[in-house]
């Protein structure tokens, strides 16, 4: 598989790079599922985090041949960042994704590219109570 998994030194950051192809969406979901498991999130939150990631990678246009999923673990919380996507002012807010995780927001990196940050865990709530 051409996906590469790099675990950074601090062990609380994970970066996964996969080809921007539907065949690798399941890989992204599995990694996110593992993260949710490590965070001891309820299954519903894990499932909806996976659903949010799936919605993003299926619904947005990737600007490169690869997609990057970054996870920063902080205690019982995680910040999942995924991109780069083509900049789309109409998608600064995604009402569906926002309801699936505790917080979702678009950040701009690499020039104009959109990256989407998903916050889950801690503070009690993910997407599902």
């Amino acid at each position: 598989m051409s996906a590469s998994l790099v675990t950074l030194a601090a062990m609380d950051r994970i970066s996964l790079t996969v080809p921007a192809e539907p065949a690798f969406h399941a890989t992204l979901r599995l990694v996110v599922g593992g993260v949710g498991s490590r965070l001891q999130l309820p299954y519903e939150q894990v499932d909806e985090l996976q659903l949010a990631v799936e919605a993003l990678v299926s619904g947005r246009v990737s600007v490169e041949s690869t997609l990057v999923l970054e996870v920063e673990l902080d205690g019982g919380a995680a910040l999942v960042t995924i991109g780069p996507f083509a900049s789309d002012p109409e998608r600064e807010r995604d009402p569906i994704v926002e309801r699936l995780v505790r917080r979702a927001r678009v950040v701009h990196r690499d020039g104009d590219a959109d990256w989407v940050e998903l916050s889950v865990g801690a503070d009690g709530e993910g997407g599902s109570p």
Partner: protein, 251 residues
Amino acid sequence: MNIATERKRKQLLQAYKEEGDRAAREELIEDLMPLVRSLALRYTGRGESLDDLVQVGCIGLINAIDRFEPDRGVELTTYAVPTILGEIQRHFRDKAWAVHVPRSVKELNVRLTRLLDGLTAELGRSPTIEELANAAGAEEEEVIEALESAHAYSARSLSAPPDDETGALSEMVGVDEGGYEQVEEGVVLDAGLNALDARERRIVELRFFEGLTQSQIAAEIGISQMHVSRLLRRALQTMRGRIEASGEESP
């Protein structure tokens, strides 16, 4: 069916059942193939060719002939129809799993579906993956893999209720289309919602508009949480497709 046909079938059955006449069995199969074909036709348009469905239905017919007991006092066709339909439906259920999902993973998924609902009721909240793994006697990685395998279901298969959830959902849930407009992002969502059927729209409404959790939705409409998850996933896929299509149509 005319009397001559019925008499002939009885003779063929008798020859097969009492004398082991394989030629009679073959003739009987040939005779009833139009029945198989007519039943298979009901299931076309679901991603399987008619020829394949006829082949599957034929297995059901052969099973029906082999198991049929003339002394029971029912017609062979009466017995054969549900057997043929059962075989076709089983084919869709089996086919619904991606071909690469190992049997052990499928079996674990089925167990998890039940454990998930049981643990949710027992704990009063959705269980963690670790809790599911402990209950299933499996590793957490195996549980994650098995849960992921649920997404290997084809979208088409989801239109049919699974084994343990028979009954038309559309008949079980009410459809309340009011309230969408009150949501801030309603304009964006409306295009997608319009693409959903009644049950999908109801589930989306409960999850995203009324704020129910998946397990609460499961309890509300009487299906498993895993099934809610699948339906939700499919609904969102459908909505996304419709929203994108409407965006392309707009100048």
